[in-house]
């Protein structure tokens, strides 16, 4: 369990730049200062937004650390300085940020964990498109492959989540009034990301995700409050097994299986199958891809294993039976042909052998935007 003196984390979720996450965070900070809380700003990204900058009035800002990298100097949050200052509460913008190489930690969320470990409460902000398990859906909506992501389990550790909502219409007006970006950037933004239908879909995603985050906490709290209660929220224990291969769609499969697993409160396992005596036939780049995918699964907090066997489908099924798996997740391959000997054959064999469990075949979401 979490130590009681660990700092609490509050996450402000939005669906796009400019909806007012940072503004609301600063507004809350001002209210807390009035209540006598010792607040500092650990990292603040002004983006030149005047109304937001005004909200920092009277707030102590911890100067950023300078990190040299390849002949330039970058600025990052100075976690050590914040720890030395030891405030009760610290504001940190952009939860999903990746630190410049050479920083003490790779990700900002890791810095935030350090602050919480030291008993400091943290307020932070994030846009929905940075949530790892939504990566493919966000790409489907926006056409953009977001690279800076937050693993779902990290976001789930926030003690509180709150959505900052704004209608796309109002957001577009802000954009057109130049509140969010300067003039040149506005044109580009309007053509790409800031289209009303794109924004509406992202917003829907953010609303549903926040609802899920709240439900997740309710279920956990219910378990704490009344461990024996058998409410309607309780479901049969599902266990999900997913097959890791070298196919590029495996990353999508991992995200989707994990997402479904989270919603069903189901455990997830990821396995790759090595065919005995067949090691030399795996191309080095394929082996590398499998390693990368297994590693990605572990980062998503999925248990992984490499199985040895004579035949992939049977080996997978044996593992599934031993581990009481109820659902197997497979990726539909990107390859066009489904030869009997290729992956098409493997999918079919697994479907044929799965007499007592469900098989879910995940296929790529088509891009809806140019």
């Amino acid at each position: 369990m979490v130590k009681t003196d660990r700092g609490k984390l509050k996450l402000y979720i939005g669906y796009a730049a400019g909806v007012g996450k940072t503004y609301k965070m600063l507004e809350d900070a001002q209210a807390l200062i009035n209540q006598g809380v010792d607040v500092v700003i650990g990292y603040f990204e002004p983006h030149g937004r005047q109304a937001t900058i005004e909200k920092t009035a009277g707030l102590e800002i911890i100067p950023r650390a300078k990190v040299p990298y390849r002949g330039s100097v970058f600025e990052e949050m100075d976690t050590d300085a914040i720890l030395a200052r030891g405030p009760q509460l610290c504001l940190v913008d952009e939860f999903a940020h990746t630190n410049v190489p050479g920083s003490s930690r790779t990700k900002r969320w890791e810095d935030i964990e350090i602050l919480q470990d030291a008993g400091i409460d943290v307020l932070t902000t994030m846009n929905i498109q940075h949530l790892e398990s939504l990566n493919d859906q966000v790409r489907q909506i926006t056409g953009i492959h977001v690279r800076e992501t937050i693993p779902d389990w990290v976001a789930q550790q926030a003690d509180e989540v709150v959505i900052i909502d704004l209608s796309p219409r109002a957001l577009l007006h802000r954009l057109e009034r130049g509140v969010i970006y300067d003039r040149e950037k506005v044109e580009r933004a309007l053509q790409n990301f800031f289209r009303e239908s794109t924004l509406a879909a992202l917003r829907e995603l953010a609303l549903r995700e926040t609802a899920h985050e709240i439900e997740h906490r309710v279920i956990n709290d219910e378990a704490d409050l009344a461990p024996k209660a058998t409410g309607q929220k309780q479901i049969r224990n599902h266990k999900i097994l997913l097959l890791v291969t070298a196919d590029p769609n495996t990353a999508m499969l991992i995200r989707r299986a994990k997402r479904v697993g989270d919603f069903l409160e189901a455990e997830c396992f990821a396995v790759a199958v090595n065919i005995s005596g067949d090691l030399n036939r795996i191309m080095p780049q394929d082996r590398e891809a499998i390693e990368r995918h297994l590693n990605f699964a572990r980062n998503m907090r999925i248990e992984t294993q490499i199985l040895e066997g004579n035949e992939a489908a049977q080996t997978l099924m044996d593992f599934a039976h031993e581990n009481h798996i109820t659902q197997i997740f497979l990726a539909r391959t990107r390859r066009r042909s489904y030869s009997l000997f290729g992956q098409g054959g493997l999918l079919k064999n697994i479907v044929r052998l799965a007499r007592d469990m469900q098989v879910v075949i995940v296929s790529e979401r088509e891009l809806t935007t140019e």
Partner: protein, 360 residues
Amino acid sequence: MNRKRRRKTPDELLHEMQPEDTGMKGHLKIFLGYASGVGKSFRMLDEARRRKERGQDVVVGAVQPKVSPEVQKLLDMLDVVPLRKHSAGMAMDIKNIIRRHPAICIIDGLAFNNPPGLRNQTRWQDAQELVNSGIKVIGSINIQYVEELRQQVEDITGKHVTESVPVSFLKSADEIEIVDAPPAEPIERLPEQQTKPEVRQQQLSVLRELALVLAADVVDSQLNDYLEKHGIKQSFGAQERILVCITPRANAREMIETARMIAERFHAEMTVAYVKQAELSLEDQAALEEKLALARSAKAQIAILDGEDVLDAILDFANSHAITQLFIGHTQSIRKWPWSDPVEKLIRRSHGMDLRIFPQ
């Protein structure tokens, strides 16, 4: 085939269709909250203040009987059209507002009932009338007054309310925004039952979840209207939609039960579909009826599909209804495997969705 058309439908069209603040067409914006005290009134009146500062003609048509000092401060900066006294009580003075014809009218508490004898029984109907007369209305509502959610909320809070606003009114809004705050913050809360703080916290969290899902549903239906209006055939997948395909002989119980559970968790829509077959034996007909009844009791929508080719019929429906999860049964007994297996064909042809295969 839709490509050209797709490209020709920029969002500017939407702007052209619904110009804001031109005074030509009324406009409805709703702030939705999950409990009183989350700050709906404040957000709404703060927007009114900002608009007034930008030179727009704003009046306040109705406010809550009791307001917080912060809200009062905002009200002091705005023009308020007082409620009108009628023999049986007070109501918003819409005649006066229409005569005054501001660009924007703020209406708090859309669910209020008007005193008997007035043309409109409720305040939201008054609001509608103002919108129809070309005024932009900004209003607020608490989810406990949403007709379709009333029972659910009452089950949670134990509080019965008589006023209500239908979801269709919320969906008719041009804009809807949710005012969210973690449960620690709302000021007035659930009734004075002797609930433990943790339990009350839980109840508020459930209300919050309901409000967020309602807002998401409204956003989804508006998005779909927009896409439909512009002939755009695309799916964003933000809303999970499950299609369960059954046959008279399918082991439908597990499929429907799994779908129900997933639908509940994902707040997904669920449809159970059956592709019509030319001749069904009486026995099969009865089996099918039983399965459809099961589907209805799981609150699924039912779709009876027509088509010469079963797979075509299923996939056409799935693609045109933005299905994200397709459920099918699979018999291992087919001996013609693997060449003519329908499941294999479905694997090959179902793009952009999860295919969940149930052993039969």
